[in-house]
C-alpha cells in the first residue's frame, strides 16, 4: 500500500524536473533580454581597488595560534582549501563573495573546492563533510545557521582541519572548534547609515526604517546601530515607523507606499539593504515624488544602489563588503605559518555618497 502511494509523488517530482530541464534548455536558446547588446555584466569582484582590508584589531583582542588550536603547520601553496557557501549565488552579495574566494585562490595558486548548500542547512552539513572527505586541508565556511554544527566540527577536529567562518558566526568556541570569524560589524554599519541620514536630513524631522527579515541578527544589529547613533547625535531625528520589508524590493516598495501615505511628513527612509531601498525609490517615483524629496540611505553597496546615488534618488550607501577572499586567505596563510591571528576579524566597509559614487561605482558589486 505504502509503495503505491509514494509512486505519484516520485512521478510528480520527476515530471517536474524533466519539464524544468527541457524548458530551461529551449527557453534560453532564443531568449533576448533588454541588455544583450550592452556589456554591463563585467566581473564585478575583480574590479580594481576593491580588495578587502581588516580593521586594525583593538588592542587586547583575543588571538589564536596553530599550537593552541592543535593543527599541523603546512604551506598554503599546494594545500587544498574547501569553501562551503550557504545560499544560492542568486544575489549580488553571494555572487561577489564566492567569486572573490575563487579569484584569490587562483591568484595564490591554491586548489579550491566549492560547494553550495542552496539555503538548506542539512545540505550544508553534508557539503562540509564531503569537502573533508575530498581532502580539504583547510575550510572556509559561510554558515547558513549559527547552531547545529557539532557533527561537522567533530569531523574537522578529528582530521585537525582548521576552519575559518565568514559573514555569519557559529555558536562554538573560537580557537578550539574553529580558528577565526571574519565579518562586517553590522552595528557599525547601522551607525554609519545614521551618520549619512543625519547629514542628508540635517538631523531634524521624521524618518522611517525598512527592517530586514525578522529574527535575523543582521536586522537587529543594523537597527541597533542606527538608533544608537541617532539618539546620541541627532535627537531631533524621530523614527516614526519601523516596518519589515523582508530584504526584498517589492515588499520595500509596498511598505514605503503605505508609510508616505499616512506620514506625509517623512523626510528620510533608512533601508537595511539595497533592495528595499530600491523598492522605496520605486514607491517614491510612483507617488510622483522627485529625486531628493525624501532622503534614502541603504546598506550593502550593490551597483544598482550606487547608481541610485548617481541618479540622485539615494543619498548614501554603506557598504557591506562581500569580498572575503583576500582576508580569508591571508588569515589562513598567517595561521598555517604558525603566527597568531585574531579570533574575531572585522573587515573594513566602504561608503558611497554623492561625492564618490560616480568614480567608485566600479567598486560596487
Amino acid at each position: 500500500m505504502q509503495r503505491t502511494t509514494h509512486r505519484p509523488h516520485f512521478l510528480a517530482r520527476s515530471v517536474a524536473v524533466a519539464l524544468a530541464t527541457a524548458v530551461a534548455l529551449t527557453a534560453t536558446a532564443c531568449a533576448k533580454s533588454e541588455d544583450d547588446a550592452s556589456d554591463k555584466k563585467q566581473s564585478a569582484s575583480s574590479a580594481a581597488g576593491a580588495e578587502q582590508k581588516a580593521v586594525t584589531p583593538k588592542p587586547g583582542s583575543k588571538t589564536c595560534t596553530i599550537d593552541a588550536y592543535g593543527a599541523k603547520k603546512l604551506d598554503l601553496k599546494g594545500a587544498t582549501v574547501g569553501f562551503s557557501q550557504s545560499e544560492k549565488e542568486a544575489n549580488p552579495f553571494r555572487i561577489a563573495e564566492t567569486q572573490s574566494l575563487k579569484d584569490e585562490a587562483q591568484k595564490r595558486g591554491v586548489k579550491l573546492l566549492t560547494a553550495n548548500a542552496q539555503s538548506q542547512f542539512s545540505k550544508q552539513i553534508t557539503d562540509v563533510q564531503d569537502l573533508l572527505a575530498k581532502g580539504a586541508d583547510l575550510l572556509v565556511v559561510a554558515p547558513l545557521n549559527s547552531d547545529g554544527w557539532d557533527p561537522v566540527l567533530q569531523a574537522a577536529a578529528a582530521k585537525k582541519v582548521p576552519i575559518v567562518t565568514i559573514d555569519r558566526k557559529i555558536n562554538a568556541e573560537a580557537c578550539k572548534d574553529y580558528v577565526s570569524f571574519i565579518a562586517s560589524d553590522f552595528v557599525e554599519q547601522g551607525r554609519r547609515a545614521a551618520d549619512q541620514m543625519i547629514e542628508a536630513t540635517g538631523g531634524k524631522g521624521e524618518v522611517a526604517i525598512l527592517l530586514g527579515a525578522a529574527g535575523n541578527n543582521v536586522t537587529t544589529e543594523r537597527t541597533k546601530g542606527f538608533k544608537e547613533r541617532v539618539a546620541e547625535k541627532a535627537p531631533g531625528l524621530k523614527v516614526v515607523a519601523e516596518q519589515t520589508g523582508d530584504f526584498a524590493r517589492e515588499k520595500g516598495q509596498q511598505v514605503t507606499e503605505q508609510l508616505i501615505q499616512s506620514n506625509p511628513g517623512i523626510k528620510g527612509v533608512y533601508a537595511e539593504n539595497d533592495e528595499m531601498g530600491l523598492g522605496a525609490v520605486a514607491a517614491l517615483k510612483g507617488a510622483g515624488k522627485k529625486a531628493g524629496d525624501i532622503k534614502i540611505v541603504t546598506v550593502d553597496g550593490t551597483r544598482n544602489a550606487v547608481q541610485g546615488i548617481v541618479d540622485g534618488w539615494i543619498s548614501g550607501v554603506v557598504e557591506s563588503n562581500p569580498r572575503f577572499g583576500p582576508l580569508a586567505f591571508e588569515t589562513l596563510d598567517t595561521f598555517t605559518r604558525g603566527e597568531p591571528v585574531a579570533q574575531d576579524i572585522i573587515i573594513e566597509d566602504g561608503t558611497y555618497n554623492a561625492d564618490n559614487a560616480k568614480q567608485d561605482i566600479g567598486k560596487a558589486f
Binding site: A20, A90, A248
Partner: protein
Amino acid sequence: MAEAALRTAPPDRARLLQWLQTYGVYAGVALLLVVNTVITPHFLSAENFRTQAVQVAPVVIVALGMALVIGTEGVDLSVGAVMALAASVTALYLGYGLLPALLAVALFAAGVGFANGALVAFVGVQPIVATLALMVGGRGLALVLLPQLEDLRNPQLASLGSGDVLGVPYLILIAAVLALLVAFVVRRTTFGRQLLAIGDSRPAAELAGLPVRRVLIVVYVVCALLAAVAGVLATARLQASDPTSLGNLMELSAITAVVVGGTPLTGGRVNIAGTVAGAVLIQLLTATLIKHDLPPSWTQIAQAVVIVCAVYAARGRGKR
C-alpha cells in the same frame, strides 16, 4: 425531509455562523474602513485608496484562479512560482518587445498549468502534491532562467505598471475586468457549472458524463495564466524582474483570500465577490498595522485570527 440539513448547533448560532460565512468578510472590510477613517491620519484620500487597490490587485488576480481551483476541491501551491517564472521570462524576452514577451510568459504559464492539471487529472496525484512539485520546480526554473534581479526599462512595461485611464491605474482595471470575467464564467457557462459539480462530487460528475479531466486541466491552466498576469503586473510596477522573492508566500495569501471570502476548501462552491473582498480585507489589515507602526508579527497574528474566524464560520456548513 429536513433531517439531512440539520446541524448540531442551536438555531441562533447556526444562523449567526451562516451569516458570518456569507457576509462576514464584507462586514470585516466595512469595519476596517470605519475604524481607519477614525484613527488613521490621511486615510480618506483618493491617493490612499489608489495605493491600497494597486497593491491588492495582483493578490486579487491570483486569488481568482485559486478560487477556481479550490472550487474543484483542489489547491494550487505553484502560483507564487508561476509569478516568479513570469517575471524572469518577461525579462528574458523583453528584447523582442513587450507583446512577444507576454506571449512567451503565457506559453510558460500554460505549460506549468497543464503539467499541474495533467498530474491531477490523468496521473491522479493529489493536487497539493502535484502543485508542490511545480512550486519547487517552477521557482527553480525561474532562477535558472534569470539567476538574479534585473532592472527593466521598457517604457511600455513601465506604463503598464504605473499608467492609468482617467486616474484609474491599469492594474486596478485589469483586476476588475478579470474578476467580472471569472464571476461570469462561474455563473453563466457550462464550464463553470461543471467545475462546481466536479468539486462537489467527482464520482457523481464522472458518472453524469462530464468531461472531468478536460475541466480540471483547463482550471489549472487558467489559474497559472492568472498568476502569470499577476507576476507581469507586479514586475511592471517594480520595473524590475525579481524571481528570487516575487510571489513568495503568494499561494498562502491567495488561499487566505479565497477561504476568508467564504469559498469552502471542500469544493463545489466558488464565491468570487467574497474572494475579492477577502483579498481587500487582508490588504486593509496589513495597511492598518503598517500605518500605525505595529510590529510585523502583529500582521501575521491578525491574519491568523481572520483565517481562524473564517474557518470557524465555514465549519458548520461543510458539505453533506
